[in-house]
Amino acid sequence: MELPTPRGPVSAHVVHALRSGDAFEPAVAASADVLGDDAQVALWVLLQLHYRDFDDAARDAEWDVGAVALRQTLAESFVDRLRGLVTERVALARDAADDVPGQVMAMIGAADGPSLAAYLHREATREQVLSFLRQRSLYALKESDAHSFVLPRVHGSVKVALAELQYDEYGAGRPDRLHAGMYAEALVAAGLDPRYGRYVDEVAGPVLAVDNLISVLALQRRTRAASLGQLAAFEATSSLPSRRIAAGIERVGLPRAVAAYFDEHVEADAAHEQIALRAVCGALVAAEPELADDVLFGAAAYLELDERSAVHLLARWRDDEVVEAAS
C-alpha cells in the first residue's frame, strides 16, 4: 500500500520519515490533539508497520526505536484520553451485574447513540452505502488480525476459546470463507478496489480511531484484557446490525455478493458474541479477577469510539443530503 496523505504536522512528520528514511522525532506528538485526524493518521501509519508494508517507504521501520517511541507516545495519550471519556460507562456496567458477561451486555444495552445500521437499512443512498463500505475497509480487510497478537498473551481455556473464535474468522479451514477475503469480494462486487489501505485518505478520523484502538490494545501485553473486552463488545454489537446492513445493501440495488459478508456475520457473530463474552472474557476474569476493570475499559472505549464514528458519518451523510436538496 502507499503512505496516506498527511492531515497535519504529526502525520506529515511520520510520512516524511518513512518516505525519506530520516529519523523519527517523538517530540512532534507532544502538542497534538490525540483524537484529531492528524494524530490518528500518524498513529494509524505507525501501527500498520506491524501488519503490512508501505510500497513508498524507504526502509522497514517496524522496530525502529524512534518509530516505536513515537507510536507509544501517541498510543499512551490516546488510551489515557479514553480512560477519562468512559468512566460513566464503566461505572454503570459495574453496578448493573456481578459477572463480566452481564456487565458488558448492560453497557451495550445502555448505549444510546444513533444507529448507523438503522440508517443504512432504511435511508442511505447507494452512494452512501458505498461510502460506508470504503470507511469500513481498513478494519475489515485485516479483520481479526489484531486479536491474533493477543493469543500468546493468554493461557489455558482463554487461549483455546480465542483460537476457536479466530479460526472461524479465518474461514474455519475454507479459504473462501476467510472473513477479510469475503470483504474484499464484497468490495469487488460493489465495483470498489479491494486493496488494503486504498481508501485511507477518505476514512474519517473517528473511524481511524476505532481501527487504531483495536490495534493499540491488541499490540500491548499489558492491555490484553482490554483488547478482549473490546473484542466482546465488537462481537456483541455485530449480528443484529449486520442483518440491517445486508438489507440496506439489497435495498439500494447492489449485487447479492456485496451483502454476503454481512449475511455471514449474522450467524457467525451470534456465536462469537457468546464465545467472546463467556469463554474468553468471563474465563479470563475468573482466572485473574484483577483484570475485570481492564475488560470493561476495553469494551467501553470501543463503544465510545464506535458511537463517535457513527455520529460523524451520519452528520456527514445528512449534510450531503442538504447540499443535494439545495442544488
Binding site: 474455519a172 449480528s239 443484529l240 456465536a271 457468546q274 464465545i275 463467556r278
Partner: protein, 63 residues
C-alpha cells in the same frame, strides 16, 4: 468431525454446540454444520433457524 459433541447453554441466549456435523430441525430438514462452534436458537424467534441470529435480545428487551 470425530469426538464427542459438546453442548453449552448460554443464559438468556442460544446453545453453543461444538463437534456436530449436522443439525436436524423439527421439520426433519438437515442443516450441515460448517463452523467449529454454532449457536442454536432456543427462543424460537430466530429468522435463521435452527441458528441463533441474536433476535432473542430484542425479545428480552421488550418484556
Amino acid at each position: 468431525m470425530t469426538g464427542p459433541v459438546r453442548v453449552t447453554p448460554c443464559p438468556d441466549g442460544p446453545l453453543l454446540v461444538r463437534g456436530a456435523d449436522v443439525v436436524t430441525d423439527e421439520d426433519g430438514t438437515d442443516h450441515p454444520v460448517t463452523r467449529p462452534v454454532v449457536a442454536l436458537c432456543v427462543c424460537g424467534k430466530s429468522g435463521r433457524r435452527p441458528w441463533c441470529d441474536d433476535t432473542h435480545r430484542s425479545i428480552r428487551r421488550s418484556t
